[in-house]
C-alpha cells in the first residue's frame, strides 16, 4: 500500500532523514519507534506532503506522491492524525468531524455523512455526548479521539498517527491503543509512530526502529519486543542488572 525507497528529507540544509526505505501492506499495523528527534514526525510529514523538502520515492497505491501537496494526498486515501491533536479549537466537535468528511463528500456519491458520523460516535461515545461543544474545551484524551475520528471520517485506506499517546494519562493511552487495535479488526491499515514503544509494539504486526534519521532495524513486532537492544534502548529494561540477579 505504502512503499518508500531511499527517502531523504529535511528542513533547509539540515538533513533529518537519510535513505529511508520501508513499506506498509494492506491490513497491517506498522509502528515506527524511536527516541525524540530521531525523525519520526519528519517521516510522517514527508509522506503526507507537509514537508516539501524530500527526495526519493514515495509510492502510495503504486502511485508516486512525493511531489503532491497534502490536500491532494488526502484525496488518495492517505490521512495523517497530526502530532499534538491539532483539532480546530474554536469549532464544535461536530464541525470538526464534518470537515474531516469533506474528502469523501467531494469524490464519493454513495458516501453518507450521517452513517459515518454514527460509526464514529459508536467508536468514541464521548464525542457523541460532546458533539456541540467547542473542540478546544475537550480534555487531552478527548481531543486525541476527535483528531483520530476526524481523520477516519475521510475513510482513509491508510491512517497515519503521530504519537497519539503523547501527554495523556496511562488509562487514556490504553483506551487509545485499544481503539487502534479495533481499527485493524475493521480492516484498516495503520502506520503508528510512537515513543511509547511497549504499547505500540504490543498491538503492531511489524515495527521499524528509527535512530538519528536512519532505519536500523525491521522486524515482526513480537520479535522486536524480545530484541535485547530494543529492550535496553526503548523499553527501559536494565538487562545487566537482571542478569546479575
Amino acid at each position: 500500500m505504502l512503499r518508500i525507497k531511499n527517502l531523504d528529507a529535511g528542513y533547509g540544509k539540515l538533513k533529518v532523514l537519510r535513505r529511508i526505505s520501508m513499506h506498509v501492506s494492506p491490513g497491517e499495523i506498522v509502528t515506527i519507534i524511536g527516541a525524540n528527534g530521531a525523525g519520526k514526525t519528519t517521516l510522517l510529514h514527508a509522506i503526507s506532503g507537509l514537508l516539501k523538502n524530500r527526495s526519493g520515492e514515495i509510492l502510495f497505491d503504486k502511485r508516486e506522491i512525493g511531489s503532491l501537496p497534502p490536500e491532494k494526498i488526502v484525496f488518495l486515501g492517505c490521512s495523517l492524525v497530526p502530532e499534538g491533536r491539532q483539532v480546530f479549537a474554536a469549532m464544535t466537535v461536530l464541525e470538526n468531524l464534518l470537515l474531516g468528511s469533506y474528502v469523501q463528500q467531494k469524490q464519493n456519491r454513495d458516501y453518507k455523512v450521517q452513517d459515518q458520523l454514527q460509526k464514529m460516535y459508536e467508536l468514541f461515545p464521548r464525542l457523541k455526548e460532546r458533539r456541540q461543544q467547542l473542540a478546544g474545551t475537550l480534555s487531552g484524551g478527548e481531543q486525541q479521539m476527535l483528531a483520530i475520528a476526524r481523520a477516519l471520517m475521510a475513510k482513509p485506506k491508510l491512517i497515519m498517527m503521530d504519537e497519539p499517546s503523547m501527554g495523556l494519562a496511562p488509562l487514556i493511552v490504553k483506551d487509545i491503543f485499544s481503539i487502534v487495535g479495533r481499527l485493524r479488526e475493521e480492516g484498516n491499515t495503520v502506520l503508528l509512530i510512537e515513543q511509547n514503544a511497549k504499547a505500540a509494539l504490543g498491538i503492531a504486526d511489524r515495527g521499524y526502529v528509527l535512530e538519528t534519521g536512519r532505519i536500523i532495524l525491521e522486524e515482526n513486532a513480537d520479535e522486536l519486543l524480545l530484541n535485547r537492544d530494543v529492550q535496553r534502548a526503548y523499553l527501559g529494561r536494565d538487562l545487566d542488572s537482571e542478569t546479575k540477579m
Partner: protein, 296 residues
C-alpha cells in the same frame, strides 16, 4: 442640550459606525485566513462606489450595485492571485509593504480612469431632502438603507461562516492551516476566497454610503484608517466585536462635534487607536492570550 439633537447625532453616529464596522469586518476576514492586514481594504470600498456610479449611467441602480460588487470581487481575486498567492511564508513587514503598494496602485489607477472629481450614487429611495420623521427626529431614508444592508451583510456572513462548507473551511484554515490541509482543504484557494469576500462586502459598503458621504479616488484611505481602528478596538479577527466597536467609534465621533470643531473629528479615532494600542492591544473584546500569539 436638546433631546432631538441627541437622537439626530446618535443616528448619524450609528450610520457611520455601521460603515466602519463593515470595513473592519473586511480586515478581519483576510486577517483570519492569512494573518495579514490588507491595507488595500479601503480601496475596495472606493472601487465599489466608483464602479457603481460609472455603471449607473447605463443600467438601473440595483444592477449597477450588483455589477460593481461582482467586479470588485473579481479585482480582489486578481490582486490576491497576482501579488500574494505565490509568496511562500512572507514576513508580516513584507505583506504590509505589498498591500500598501496595492492600495497606491489601485488609487492611482482610479485617478486616471475617473479623475479627481467627487461622485455619488443617487439616494436609493427619496432624495437629499426627504426624511422619515419620528417626532422631531428626522432620518434620511438612505440612513435606513445603510443600517439595513449592513445588518443583512453581517447576518449573511455569520450564516456563511457558521453553516456552509466553504465558510467552515475558511475558519478551519484560520484555526490551523496544516490541519486544514490534512482535511483536504486547499488553503491557497481559501485565501483567494477571503480576498473575494472582503472585496465584495467592501464594495457593497462603498455603494450604500456614497449617496451620503460622496466618493472620490482617494476616499479609501480615511475609511481604511477608521475600519482598522475599529478592527483593533474590537480585537483583531473578531467580526461581531467589530460591529460593537464600529458603533462605539461612530457614536463617539458624532457626539464629539458638540465639544470640538468638526475638523477634529478624525482626531477621536486616531486617539482611540493609539490609546488602545498602548493600553489594551488585544482590543476591547479580544483575548489577551490569543493576542500574544499574533504576529501583529
Amino acid at each position: 442640550m436638546n433631546i432631538d439633537f441627541f437622537f439626530q447625532y446618535l443616528v448619524a453616529g450609528i450610520t457611520y459606525g455601521t460603515i466602519y464596522a463593515i470595513v473592519a469586518i473586511g480586515f478581519n476576514i483576510i486577517y483570519n485566513t492569512t494573518g495579514i492586514i490588507n491595507f488595500a481594504q479601503g480601496e475596495f470600498v472606493m472601487l465599489g462606489g466608483m464602479i457603481s456610479v460609472a455603471l449607473h449611467a447605463f443600467v438601473p441602480l440595483p444592477a449597477a450595485i450588483l455589477a460593481a460588487v461582482i467586479l470588485t470581487m473579481m479585482i480582489g481575486a486578481i490582486i490576491e492571485i497576482l501579488f500574494i498567492r505565490w509568496l511562500a511564508n512572507p514576513s508580516v513587514l513584507r505583506m504590509i509593504i505589498i498591500t500598501i503598494g496595492i492600495s497606491i496602485l489601485v488609487r492611482e489607477t482610479a485617478l486616471h480612469i475617473w479623475g479627481a472629481g467627487v461622485r455619488a450614487l443617487p439616494y436609493f429611495t427619496g432624495s437629499e431632502v426627504s426624511a422619515i420623521s419620528v417626532g422631531d427626529v428626522h432620518v434620511s431614508p438612505q440612513v435606513l438603507w445603510v443600517i439595513g444592508i449592513s445588518a443583512v451583510t453581517v447576518t449573511g456572513l455569520n450564516l456563511f461562516f457558521g453553516r456552509t462548507l466553504p465558510g467552515r473551511q475558511m475558519r478551519a484554515c484560520a484555526s490551523n492551516r496544516n490541519a486544514a490541509r490534512l482535511c483536504g482543504i486547499n488553503a491557497k484557494n481559501m485565501v483567494t476566497l477571503s480576498f473575494v469576500l472582503s472585496a465584495g462586502i467592501g464594495a457593497l459598503a462603498g455603494c450604500v454610503v456614497s449617496p451620503i458621504t460622496y466618493i472620490q479616488y482617494d476616499s479609501g484611505t480615511p475609511l481604511a484608517i477608521k475600519g482598522f481602528t475599529v478592527a483593533i478596538l474590537g480585537g483583531l479577527g473578531n467580526s461581531m466585536a467589530a460591529v460593537a466597536a464600529g458603533l462605539i467609534l461612530g457614536v463617539l465621533e458624532s457626539f464629539s462635534i458638540w465639544i470640538m470643531p468638526t475638523a477634529y473629528k478624525d482626531v477621536i479615532s486616531i486617539s482611540i487607536l493609539l490609546l488602545i494600542l498602548f493600553v489594551r492591544p488585544s482590543g476591547l473584546f479580544g483575548n489577551k492570550e490569543a493576542a500574544g500569539l499574533k504576529e501583529f
